[in-house]
């Protein structure tokens, strides 16, 4: 506790002078009736409690992974996306509460009826930390390299998946950028705000000219964000310092001016008990990657737990619609009905996580709730469905049809600690109704390797996709795109064209009402009519922080921004 105590003690004398000044200011403001003019007072941070934000100080933040490359467009892990979000800005900002796309570096935008051309009108006051201007030319250069990569420089086509079908960016004038696609891409608007891995954060023209190797010098990686690189020590830490003169945080954040903090240190601490121990002893102020077993004990010690579910899809069992026995809709429906959601909620999940009630996580617009209808625990009905479909109970309790056992092979990812125990709970429940769910839950590289044979080898692939837009259903389930349920002519009882068209509509309109309707239709089809997916739970990002820390923002992709963060001790 010594570090924490000494820092608070050292802060004490300075704070003594404040009550008088603060009191006087408050009286003046009240007398003038001028609530609105409190500087930064209306910000999210202040609303989160703790009074008026204090400027200055260093936030010592911990997380499990480290930044492999300072280039935010390259980023393939969480640490990289988090740091990228604080050194770069995006065209738009997605409101984490409503999912609405709001202005950021683009003040306004319009699009053609076909949703192939998106015109962005840019802010004119934005500069990079090297002083160069942010303009349409910069947008074009960034998107071109982001989508196509540059083999000479060793830069990958990092954005090829996000901006699929990108043709070009036109620059009719210095502050207007027209981004054009081959086919309708309604989800591009959300993509323009994307803050997760391999994000479209804008880099200066000088940075784009650097090779992948040269971008390992963090000071040469120049963004427009509220922080700039101070240092990068691979495997250990990344230090960001405040960008002076930053005045363009997303209007929806209601933050004015530069970041409150002088410095943010992203410390990599791989071991969970060392992260919690460091927080408890005051060596760090906040930590991400709080384990489910640590949440309660940290809360009991007086730390604040904040969390946000990962927007996009829940952790799902995607059924292989071609492969025996998941090519039988009765089997798929029986699995949906055959496991006890309450048991997982009680034994595996904490309050920060929730049981999935649809393919979409509830914060995604167009989400519909299926917990009362299809996605509920009803083992009797499940048994009945199997019996009717000709699956009779075998000698060992596992059902049999035409001499073949009801064995369902699942391929999953072990990186989220909750996955395995949750799947094991489902496995036990399914055994009771005569389904032998065989689990292979492995690290990501093994998962990716096995995915190559998923069509012929695996009945279920279990994963989630982090994308806060209902068109994620098109990306994942369209037979023309992700096709994670391997729909084809061989998929008996499924009208493949119906699925293609229903999910496809989501990328053909940006009208909120229509999208809601299409999203509902798509979920009805995928969850209910064809039972192609069994949603399991909604994963969360969980942070524990000391009580003197305020204003850490979770954005619509559940990534963190520190522009509005501050420490009441100002240290």
């Amino acid at each position: 506790m010594s570090d924490l105590r000494s820092s608070i003690e050292r802060a004490a004398p300075r704070r003594k002078a404040w009550p008088w000044a603060a009191g006087a200011v408050a009286v003046l403001l009240l007398a003038g009736g001028g609530f609105a003019i409190t500087r930064g007072g209306g910000s999210v941070g202040a609303a989160a409690g703790g009074g008026a934000p204090v400027r200055g100080g260093t936030l010592q933040f911990a997380l499990i992974d480290y930044q492999r490359s300072p280039d935010p467009q390259w980023g393939t892990n969480y640490a990289e996306s988090l740091i990228g979000n604080n050194i770069t800005d995006k065209l738009t900002w997605q409101d984490p509460k409503t999912g609405e796309i709001t202005p950021w570096l683009a003040q306004s935008w319009e699009y053609n009826k076909e949703l192939t051309d998106f015109t962005f009108h840019l802010r004119k006051d934005v500069t990079f930390s090297d002083g160069s201007p942010f303009n349409a030319e910069v947008v074009k250069a960034n998107f071109d390299q982001y989508v196509r990569g540059d083999q000479k420089l060793g830069i990958n086509p990092n954005g090829a998946a996000l901006l699929s079908g990108y043709i070009e960016t036109r620059t009719p004038d210095a502050y207007t950028a027209v981004v054009r696609f081959k086919k309708p891409l309604a989800s591009f608007l959300q993509a323009s705000s994307f803050t997760a891995n391999a994000q479209p954060g804008f880099l200066s023209l000088s940075t784009l000219r650097l090779s992948a190797k040269e971008r390992n010098d963090p000071r040469k990686v120049i963004g427009t964000g509220p922080f700039v690189y101070d240092s990068w020590e691979p495997q250990v830490k990344t230090v960001l310092v405040q960008r002076k003169g930053y005045t363009w945080s997303p209007p929806a954040l209601k933050h004015q001016g530069a970041a409150y903090l002088d410095k943010v240190v992203f410390n990599t601490i791989p071991e969970a008990s060392v992260r919690t121990g460091s927080l408890a002893s005051g060596a760090i102020d906040a930590t991400l990657d709080v384990g489910t077993t640590d949440e309660k004990s940290l809360a009991d010690q007086g730390f604040t737990i904040i969390h946000r579910a990962v927007s996009g899809t829940a952790i799902l069992f995607n059924f292989n619609s071609q492969l025996f026995p998941t090519n039988d809709i009765a089997v798929r429906k029986a699995i949906q009905l055959g496991w006890d959601r309450e048991a997982i909620k009680k034994t595996v999940l904490t309050d920060s996580y929730s049981i999935a009630t649809s393919i979409l996580e509830p914060s995604v617009s167009g989400y519909a709730d299926y917990s009362g209808s299809v996605l509920k625990y009803d083992p009797e009905k499940a048994k009945q469905l199997l019996q009717e479909a000709g699956w009779s109970e075998g000698p060992d309790g596992i059902r049999v049809k035409d001499g073949k056992k009801l064995v369902v092979k699942l391929l999953g990812i072990s990186n989220l600690v909750v996955n395995k125990p949750a799947y094991e709970s489902i496995q036990q429940d399914l055994k009771k109704i005569g389904i032998d769910l065989q689990l292979t839950v492995v690290p990501i590289p093994d998962y990716t390797a096995n995915l190559a044979k998923a069509k012929t080898d695996w009945n279920v692939t279990a994963s989630n996709r982090s994308r806060n837009d209902p068109a994620v259903l098109n990306l994942q389930y369209s037979p023309l795109l992700g096709n994670v349920t391997y729909l084809a002519k061989e998929s008996t009882g499924v009208d493949v064209d119906e699925v293609t068209q229903t999910v496809g509509k989501l990328d053909q309109t940006l009208d909120p009402a229509a999208r809601k309707e299409y999203a509902k239709a798509a979920q009805d089809l995928l969850i209910d009519k064809y039972a192609l997916v069994n949603p399991v739970y909604n994963p969360s990002q969980v942070i524990a922080h000391a009580n003197y820390v305020h204003g850490i923002v979770f954005d619509a992709q559940s990534r963190n921004h520190f522009v509005d963060a501050w420490k009441s001790n100002g240290k």
Partner: protein, 320 residues
């Protein structure tokens, strides 16, 4: 003249063997990593996204790392570059493999060499105490220490020390790579298990040496017990410890993976773990070759200095 030719032959044989080991490590990792079903370049993408990445994009990425070429071409290409110290670029970061390794190496060298010195110190103290004490209970107690040291998992001892000396007492930083103070706990954590096998060997060879004829002779000549230990036994008993240098090195490398993870230190151990976890093929290969080369080098040095330390071996060499 004859003797000199024999020595040259001995040297050539040993150096040749070391080079073979390094080449075999390179080839084996190449085969292992490249027969894997996953395209290493695919691991750059979110696994949930893989299916929706256009094939031409996947090909483009594979091409920029040379994964698209025929396997034999890739092999000779990589071998050629590896000879010049170029192992290509890390798939996960775009950084040169050699640079990535060189960045992490000093930290591991400090940790491993410090731990080795400490481990040797612990081992010699244990061996000395068991040999020189006249109280059986002290001997029994100290003799039990090495097996205890081997069986304590690095993970557990590291966490325990952090709990006490860092979180509770605040004497040492809990994570990171900042200055001498941050290396103390990792050093002890790594040294303890490494000291075990060395101590066991020393205790045994000290005991054997003590029963040797020359000790009796020395006694007869009027030498003191401590004098004998320091002048004769110490030197002779140290020789066997040299033979397990390879094992010791292995223990240091294995221990450093966990030590570096627990203490959030920069280093080769953690780099290895991260490279394997993300199947960063060029990086894994670079590290394996580095470790194999170090192993070969250490064994080579041992082979070369052994004859210098032990006259009997020199004699055999000359006769053979």
């Amino acid at each position: 003249m004859e003797e000199q030719r024999e020595v040259t032959r001995y040297l050539a044989l040993k150096v040749g063997r070391a080079l073979f080991v390094v080449w075999a490590a390179f080839t084996l990792t190449f085969v292992l990593l490249f027969v894997l079903p996953a395209n290493p370049a695919d691991l750059l993408f979110d696994p949930a996204e893989i299916n929706s990445i256009p094939p031409e994009v996947r090909e483009q990425v594979a091409e920029s790392y040379g994964f698209d070429k025929p396997v034999f071409l890739q092999y000779f290409n990589r071998l050629g570059h590896a000879l010049t110290g170029d192992f290509g670029n890390s798939v996960q970061s775009g950084r040169a493999v050699t640079e990535t390794i060189l960045d992490a190496l000093p930290s591991t060298l400090v940790l491993a060499s410090g731990a080795l010195v400490l481990a040797l110190l612990i081992a010699f103290v244990i061996a000395l105490v068991t040999t020189s004490t006249r109280r059986p209970w002290v001997r029994n107690l100290v003799e039990a220490l090495p097996s205890g040291a081997v069986s304590v998992p690095v993970f557990l001892s590291g966490i325990l020390m952090l709990q006490i000396f860092s979180f509770r007492l605040g004497w040492f930083p809990a994570f990171g790579d900042s200055g001498a103070r941050s290396v103390v706990l990792p050093l002890i954590t790594l040294a303890v298990p490494v000291s075990g096998p060395i101590a066991q060997l020393l205790v045994r060879s000290f005991a054997t040496e003590f029963r040797s004829g020359y000790v009796t002779t020395s006694y007869a000549k009027g030498a003191t017990r401590n004098g004998i230990i320091i002048r004769d036994v110490f030197r002779n008993a140290s020789l066997p410890a040299l033979t397990i240098a390879g094992i010791t090195f292995g223990n240091l490398i294995a221990g450093s993976v966990i030590t570096e993870t627990v203490f959030a230190r920069k280093g080769i151990g953690r780099l290895t773990q991260a490279a394997i976890n993300t199947l960063d093929v060029p990086l894994v290969q670079g590290i394996v070759v580095l470790v194999a080369a170090s192993f070969a080098l250490i064994n080579l040095i041992v082979d070369l200095i052994y004859p210098l330390l032990d006259p009997r071996l020199r004699a055999t060499l000359a006769v053979a």
